[in-house]
């Protein structure tokens, strides 16, 4: 039984008369515990695919099932629940809230799943420890380096123990050494049993993944 299943997914943007097929008939299955790299040239639809997988965006056509729920037909509250409970998303640009400190940023998903304060604190500390930032919990994002920010974002993605971790070019904004460390973190997560799918431009990184999905013009090749 696959954890994620895409069938004939199309995402079409219309700008005036021009039709942009960001995803053009993508079918895909991802199983529990897989480590997948998504590669392809710029504009090939990698981010669009990630957003669809992450329930951040809706498809124009086709079906998306995540953990046996047809999210392509679900209402927006259902999607919010799925994002909250089943998916941890790591962005290229970190997307941390600037006014919250590290711990509060990491706690955020737990706030929306209605978990009590002390339990939130406990789990957030655990997740922060897992990315090696226990000594920076009180800092704001602007007091951290890029690599540290991305660790916070990963901790946030982990904190609600989601089954799926998605990352869209998580090392894109980092230098290669820092990027290396972040990639090690993802590999570690994968080894611990998380299902991980990440977008990358780095052939070395991609080659580490057990499975590679190559996109071109919105199609899997």
């Amino acid at each position: 039984m696959s954890l994620i299943e895409l069938r004939d997914v199309r995402k079409i943007y219309r700008i005036g008369d021009i039709e942009i097929r960001a995803l053009d008939g993508v079918s895909l299955e991802i199983h529990e515990g897989e480590y997948i790299a998504i590669i392809g040239p710029s504009g090939s639809g990698k981010s669009t695919l990630m957003h669809v997988l992450g329930c951040l965006d809706r498809v124009t056509e086709g079906h998306v099932r995540i953990d046996d729920v047809d999210v392509s037909r679900a209402g927006s509250d259902r999607l919010a629940r799925t994002r909250n409970e089943k998916i941890g998303f790591v962005f290229q640009s970190f997307n941390l809230l600037p006014r919250l400190n590290v711990l509060e940023n990491v706690e955020l998903p737990l706030v929306y799943s209605g978990i009590g304060k002390s339990e939130r604190r406990r789990r957030a500390l655990e997740a922060v420890a897992a990315v090696g930032l226990s000594d920076r919990t009180g800092n704001r994002p602007n007091q951290l380096s890029g690599g540290q920010c991305q660790r916070v974002a990963i901790a946030r993605a982990l904190v609600n123990r989601p089954r799926i971790i998605l990352a869209d070019e998580p090392t894109g904004a980092l230098d290669s050494r820092t990027g290396r460390a972040i990639m090690d973190l993802f590999r570690e997560l994968s080894q611990r049993g998380h299902t991980v799918a990440l977008v990358t431009h780095d052939a070395n990184v991609a080659s580490e993944a057990a499975r590679q999905i190559v996109l071109r013009d919105g199609k899997i090749v």
Binding site: L56, S76, D77, R81, R83, F89, P109, Y112, N160
Partner: protein, 445 residues
């Protein structure tokens, strides 16, 4: 739980933009302040009205006035004896809907005690006067039936008379004598002091902390200030019989006895039951038509019109003040809405991030509404403070009996309005924020 967090976040947001939040709140501050001031002002005016009305005998009091004979009855005018003591007696016998009937004679006379002389209104009355005028005898007694029969030279005086003729304004000169006109009268009773609540408080305060130099020359406090209560305080009351024999030269009219045609200076009655007001008026008219032999040289004056006028003007006052306060609150609300909209476009990315980690659109909606409500409520609280300050100024400016009164209900009302404005001002921005899809919000630059 979530609401508490939302409130905390609202405060965080305010703290992060102190000056901007302050400017935003200013509208609500002004709105609440003017709303509260308006409530307090009208409450003060209404209270003043009520005190005055009650002191004047309330709605129940009805006055019988003399009128010129209507032209079509000109030829038979001689038939009517006019407003006489007989009228009072006829009403006592034949108008059961009236509870008190007070025939009165009055004039202004110099009243002298020791070396002080002052002019006062001197009124000749019967026992009913006490009730129609709502007088209260604080010391001694009121005039009695016996005083009337004996034509006794006794009087009951108001507190104002004591203040002006005796050295101690709080004194109780029972049994002492005064010269009214050229006749000596004995004081048998003293009315209570009539004053507004505000005056009373001030006087009590003064009594506790007397002003430093007790000026020997100037006579007692505030007597030059106009007040409705002065009429009631500056009065000397004597038996109507004594009055007519001593002060009325019209001996031929005789003294008020059965069937006397003594002309009255005033005739006031009190209606027993306001439910039967119209019927009572009809009764008065009926009885007087008989004593006046069908000649309509009198009218019955009620306070109804005065009451209605007061109520209308109070209502108008409420409306115009309410409009002003409403407008400032509206402006305040628009200010908040504006800031919320601005802060949303600033924070679209934040909204996207929150949505991405699992916030439902309802969570976003709630957050924005709570933020705006916190802003308005805080403004409301500041407005309350401003209003209390404003009240000090208004108090100094408004006439004594119309002092603004801050009622707790007005405070609650104003704060409720502020919160309401906050909620309303938050709704549209919140809706705008909530309808953004997560990806749109995240992509927003």
């Amino acid at each position: 739980m979530k609401i508490l967090m939302g409130i905390a976040e609202g405060f965080g947001e305010i703290r992060a933009h102190k000056f901007r939040s302050f400017l935003t709140m200013l509208g609500v501050v002004l709105g609440v302040a003017s709303l509260l001031a308006m409530f307090a002002l009208t409450a003060g005016i209404a209270k003043g009205y009520r005190e005055v009305m009650s002191q004047m005998g309330g709605l129940e009091r009805v006055k019988v006035r003399t009128e010129p004979v209507p032209s079509h009855q000109e030829s038979i005018r001689e038939l009517s004896p006019g407003r006489t003591y007989k009228d009072a007696q006829a009403l006592r016998r034949n108008a059961p809907l009236l509870s008190w009937i007070s025939p009165e004679l009055d004039t202004y006379l110099p009243v002298r005690r020791a070396d002080k002389t002052e002019s006062f209104q001197v009124i000749g009355v019967e026992e009913d006067y006490l009730h129609t005028e709502r007088h209260n005898v604080e010391h001694g007694r009121f005039l009695s039936d016996k005083d009337r029969w004996d034509h006794s030279r006794v009087c009951v005086i108001g507190r104002g008379v004591v203040e002006r003729l005796w050295d101690d304004p709080e004194g109780v000169p029972l049994g002492e004598s005064v010269r009214i006109g050229n006749e000596i009268f004995r004081v048998v009773g003293i009315f209570q002091r009539y004053e507004s609540d505000q005056d009373k408080k001030r006087r009590e305060l003064k009594a506790k902390h007397p002003p430093p130099p007790p000026q020997a020359g100037t006579r007692s406090r505030s007597r030059s200030r106009w007040s409705t209560f002065r009429f009631k305080n500056d009065v000397v009351v004597v038996p109507i019989t004594t009055f007519s024999t001593v002060f009325k030269n019209t001996k031929q009219a005789g003294t008020p006895e059965e069937g006397s045609e003594l002309k009255l200076d005033d005739l006031n009655v009190q209606v027993a039951d306001l439910e039967m007001f119209e019927e009572a008026l009809a009764q008065i008219r009926q009885v007087l038509m008989v004593t006046h032999r069908g000649i309509e040289d009198f009218s019955v004056e009620t306070r109804q019109e005065m009451f209605d006028e007061m109520n209308t003007s109070l209502r108008n006052l409420h409306m115009s003040f309410g409009l002003i306060a409403g407008i400032s609150l509206l402006v305040g609300g628009i200010g908040i809405m504006n800031i919320m909209l601005a802060s949303i476009s600033e924070r679209i990315r934040e909204i996207g991030i929150r949505r991405a980690v699992g916030a439902r659109s309802a969570d976003i909606f709630g957050q924005i509404v709570i933020e705006s409500t916190v802003l308005a409520a805080l403004g409301g609280v500041f407005g309350l403070g401003a209003a209390l300050g404003l009240m000090r100024v208004l108090e100094a400016m408004s006439p004594v009996q119309n002092r603004p009164v801050v009622e707790p209900s007005a405070v609650i009302m104003s704060l409720t309005f502020a919160v309401g404005v906050g909620v309303l001002a938050g709704l549209y921005p919140a809706w705008r924020a909530a309808k953004l899809s997560p990806i749109e919000a995240l992509r927003y630059e």
